[in-house]
């Protein structure tokens, strides 16, 4: 039996057209792959074969035109959605006990768009609890494993989305990125991950972590698939006041093999002592490739980079402490009810939160609450916002004479499960190169640029100006088409 999930979107669409492949066939292929591979990956938070087959049957009952006269651009294409994105009447739990059993009565805007595009929704991807983490270890369902080495983490928080894409259990996946949660796992699993400009994609239905930082974005195996998925999800949404009312170009038109004259900046602050030797070598290789293709390189400086992690943890946790206040056992999800039946409302909320949230969630809620408390607000939250402005200005200045900024995505390849979970600070540093783009709100992509000597994937990050995803996609596509290393599938 074919594994249809190995295909790219174009290949699969062609295959569907030519061989009249049914959605049910694709669903069976997904289930087959799931049965064989998933025990080694644990990438799903929720996977329901019956729902999948039901959905496939509905798609089979319609022609592509019937489904949506607008084009059904992803008709029958399998897509996995991260577990913090609401899907109508389906478990959406942010991999947290506190949302146990929660089935939203509405679709996130991106899910609505996917459904309209005819995509075959496969299931919900595992993640760090509430997207708090860089390793997928804080999920209440247990860790997801890196397809390239089951003893290693897939990255996080969208680790499930990246691992499922890398292990061919889906064609496309959606992740969310607050400080690198799409790009870091994409890098560590050898796939492509794009965090769009803040406001490019609606956040409606994305269960918020840091509302001023969160963006939903594609995780795919190549840049072409990435552009196609971005085409579907991008755009203004009247349900999200922070979404941008600016025109959405056809991103597949940016898939051009041409970087001649492109000005690429290399920020010296990103090439630090702690940078892994293999990572450094692969990035240098990539720079060489792009140079040979006519891109112009230039060293630049982003002087406030060293403060990014601190700013991020204050701003992100402050917002999270307020965003997560609604999980109190009153209205939905998990409730810790006293057996005696004698429990005040407030005690019920306290007991529920105490038992429902994991350690990292509690750590961040406490950190955020502290940063916003009277007497500390000025020194923490307000100061962080001021430094955030400085970081934004660093980028504005840098982009005044370059089009793209190129950096490694992560300082090291995937680390071992359990290696950093007890040391939050070293875990936080895993996002050191990805966080600044969230603080500045600019788009950034991670794409594979080879492997470490141990055969672990390494990612290359490109960043661009606000709403300039097109340049990002063009540069990424050009590199992808001209890179000299050979892609190795994970051995599963």
């Amino acid at each position: 039996m074919n594994n249809f999930c190995e295909f790219s979107v174009y290949q699969l669409l062609e295959c569907i057209r030519k061989d009249n492949v049914k959605a049910t066939d694709i669903a069976h292929s997904v289930i087959d792959r799931y049965n064989n591979i998933e025990p080694k990956v644990s990438g799903f938070a929720h996977f329901d074969k019956d729902i999948l087959l039901e959905r496939a049957a509905i798609l089979d009952s319609q022609s592509r035109e019937e489904h949506s006269p607008a084009g059904s651009m992803l008709f029958k294409i399998p897509v996995v959605v991260k577990d913090n994105i609401c899907v109508y009447d389906e478990l959406t739990t942010c991999a947290s006990k506190i949302l146990e059993g929660f089935r939203p009565p509405y679709d996130a805007t991106v899910v609505k768009k996917l459904k309209e595009s005819g995509a075959l929704l496969v299931g919900k991807a595992n993640m760090d609890e509430f997207a708090f983490g860089s390793s997928c270890e804080t999920s209440c369902y247990g860790p997801t494993k890196n397809p390239y080495d089951s003893e290693r983490i897939p990255g996080g928080s969208s680790g499930g989305s990246a691992a499922l894409t890398a292990s061919d259990q889906t064609v496309l996946a959606l992740g969310s990125d607050t400080g690198g949660s799409i790009r870091q796992p994409a890098a560590l699993c050898g796939v492509v991950g794009l965090k769009p400009t803040y406001g490019r994609v609606s956040r409606y239905g994305l269960i918020a972590f840091g509302s001023s930082l969160d963006q939903i974005g594609p995780i795919t195996r190549d840049v072409t698939d990435c552009a196609m998925l971005l085409n579907i999800i991008a755009g203004y949404d009247e349900m999200d006041s922070t979404s941008a009312d600016t025109a959405v170009p056809d991103y597949t038109k940016a898939l051009l093999d041409d970087v001649k004259g492109l000005r690429i900046g290399i920020p010296k602050e990103y090439f630090i002592d702690g940078l892994d030797q293999d990572v450094r070598a692969r990035i240098d290789d990539a720079i060489l490739v792009l140079k040979e293709l006519g891109a112009k390189f230039k060293e630049i400086s982003l002087p406030h980079t060293e403060y990014a992690v601190s700013v991020y943890y204050i701003v992100g946790c402050s917002e999270a402490s307020s965003n997560l206040a609604r999980f109190d056992g009153v209205k939905y999800g998990f409730r810790r009810q006293a057996e005696s039946g004698k429990q005040s409302l407030i005690d019920m909320c306290k007991d529920t939160r105490g038992a429902g949230f994991g350690l990292e969630a509690k750590r961040r809620i406490i950190l955020g609450t502290y940063s916003l408390s009277s007497g500390y607000y000025d020194a923490y939250y307000l100061k962080a916002q001021k430094v955030r402005t400085l970081i934004k200005k660093d980028f504005e200045k840098a982009f005044s004479d370059c089009d793209i900024i190129l950096t490694p995505t992560v300082p090291t390849p995937a680390f071992k499960i359990g290696e950093k979970i007890k040391d939050p600070l070293s875990m936080y540093l895993s996002d050191i190169f990805t966080i600044p783009a969230n603080l500045a709100g600019i788009p950034a992509i991670s794409l594979p640029c080879g492997y470490s000597n141990d055969g672990l994937p390494i990612g290359l990050q490109l960043m661009a100006k606000h709403f300039d995803e097109e340049t990002l996609i063009r540069a990424a596509y050009t590199y992808e088409q001209n890179s000299k290393w050979k892609r190795i599938k994970p051995k599963l």
Binding site: L99, F102, G205, T242, S321, R326, V330, C349
Partner: protein, 482 residues
């Protein structure tokens, strides 16, 4: 200790629900009295992933109120999150405004016995309302109704410029009047569409800094606010007279017992951890929009007051009472169009009708009387068909039955006796029966005539036209003398 040596300082904090079609940040209907939890959606339920979007109508109405309170509308405003755990707030934070509110620094003028007084408005800001909790008496369960959650509110904070419970009452009446002119809110304290908390402190006149303030809550009528402040003013004075200190606290007004009581739950010092709501970007308020809204404002009460004085030749007092109630002032103008006797129309409105309202604790807008009713009745008086006194009874009849004055007069045979010959006959009778009184009058006791008129009225069960009766009696007496 003499009360005269003390002065009272009061500040009022009003929460006003705006009667927009939909809620503040979602598309749910904004309506009072629906089945619990039927006017809700993912946004006002605070479901995970949902996001607020500001209702434009809410925004425009808020600007309207701010402008009519003479506030400066900010060029830039922001929503903040006020964080606290309580189940009537499904997100466990309230979207409010903190350091960049919609508007600042305005005022509202009131007319006190001492003349015009300007009460400062600190700010008018926007925030969402919370839901309603009903607690089981036995403490086993609590019920939540989230229909009210997300209802658009304005918080109107006054400066501590109010110096008596009476002034506070006037301020509220004026504010309500203004809001009714704008047609932005139901302003119904019983239904909770207007809520008022008060801060009150007293201090010796020569003392510069304010005394310790007490916050009063739980008043559900304007009179309740006044009574609570009066009680509290007296209590504070007595406390200080007894040599004790005022405790800074929140006290609840108990309407049944007519007293304020300390809040039973110990109020902890809340840290609301305000911070800018990242789901709602900062708003730039263009001067164009503000000016457009300013131009669209209806005629405000004070402008109407001077117009009434000039156009209808009304006294300051009459005009100011009429305009206080927008419905009544509109009614007045309708009447004048039908029957050009503004003075007597005004008299009936602010006299008989107003006391009817006071007696029945009602509002003008709930009365079924039409301008045609009132002008018809006044017409009958002016034609001499009925007396003023009779009209008072007829008015009550109109209000309870909705019939016209003409019909009431016909049905009950109330028509005033103006037939000269009939009155003449009765006048002779009265004079014959009271010769002594007649002589008193002739000898110079002018008020003796009143007695005779009274007797004549008695004979006609009050139907005689008192003017005609008066003239007739005088005429006969003078004629007899010669």
């Amino acid at each position: 200790m003499d009360k005269k040596h003390y002065m009272t300082t009061i500040g009022l904090e009003i929460h006003l629900q705006l009667s927009t079609k939909t809620k503040a940040f979602c598309g749910c209907v904004n309506e009072f009295g629906k089945e619990p939890n039927t006017a809700v959606c993912p946004v006002c339920l605070g479901l995970p992933g949902s996001l607020p979007v500001l209702n434009k109508e809410y925004f425009y109405r808020a600007i309207k109120v701010a402008l009519s309170l003479n506030c400066t509308v900010s060029g830039r405003m922001r929503f903040d999150r006020k964080n606290y755990f309580y189940p009537d707030l499904p997100k466990n934070y309230q979207i409010s405004q903190y350091d960049m509110p919609l508007s600042n620094k305005g005022y509202l003028d009131i007319v006190t016995a001492q003349g015009l007084k300007r009460i400062g408005i600190t700010r008018v800001h926007m925030e969402e309302d919370a839901g309603k909790l009903i607690h089981d008496e036995n403490g086993v369960f609590s019920l939540i109704d989230l229909n009210r959650t997300g209802t658009p509110l304005l918080e109107i904070v006054s400066e501590p410029d109010i110096s008596s419970p009476e002034e506070a009452h006037l301020y509220l009446k004026n504010l309500k009047s203004l809001l009714e002119y704008l047609d932005v809110s139901d302003c119904n304290m019983e239904e909770g569409s207007l809520r008022c908390d008060a801060n009150i402190s007293i201090r010796q006149k020569q003392q510069k800094e304010l005394g310790t303030k007490v916050e009063l809550k739980n008043m559900n009528s304007f009179k309740g606010v006044k009574r609570a402040l009066e009680y509290e003013q007296k209590r504070q004075l007595e406390t200080i007279s007894a040599g004790e200190e005022i405790v800074q606290e929140t006290r609840l007004w108990n309407e049944d017992k007519k007293r304020t009581e300390p809040m039973r739950t110990k109020e902890e010092a809340h840290d609301y951890r305000y911070f800018p709501d990242p789901d709602l970007a900062d708003f730039t308020i263009s001067q164009d929009i503000v000016e457009k809204i300013r131009e669209s404002l209806p005629e405000m009460p004070q402008v109407k007051c001077s117009r009434f004085k000039n156009e209808y030749n009304l006294s300051e007092y009459d005009a100011s009472v009429l305009i206080m109630d927008k419905c009544m002032s509109d009614f007045f103008e309708h009447c004048v169009k039908l029957y050009a006797q503004p003075k007597s129309i005004a008299n009936w409105l602010i006299g008989e009708l107003q006391s009817y309202l006071n007696e029945h604790n009602s509002e003008f807008k709930f009365l079924s009387i039409t301008p045609l009713h009132l002008t018809g009745m006044i017409g009958l008086i002016d034609k001499g068909v009925i007396s003023n006194k009779m009209a008072k009874g007829i008015l009550v009849e109109i209000l309870s039955t909705g019939k016209t004055a003409e019909n009431i007069v016909k049905e009950k045979g109330l028509s005033q006796l103006t037939d000269q010959s009939a009155i003449q006959e009765l006048a002779y009778e009265v004079l014959k029966e009271n010769p002594k009184v007649k002589d008193d009058y002739i000898s110079g006791k002018r008020n003796a005539l009143g007695f005779l008129v009274g007797q004549l009225m008695k004979k006609t069960q009050g139907k005689a036209n008192p003017v005609v009766a008066n003239q007739m009696l005088k005429y006969i007496i003078e004629k007899d003398k010669t």
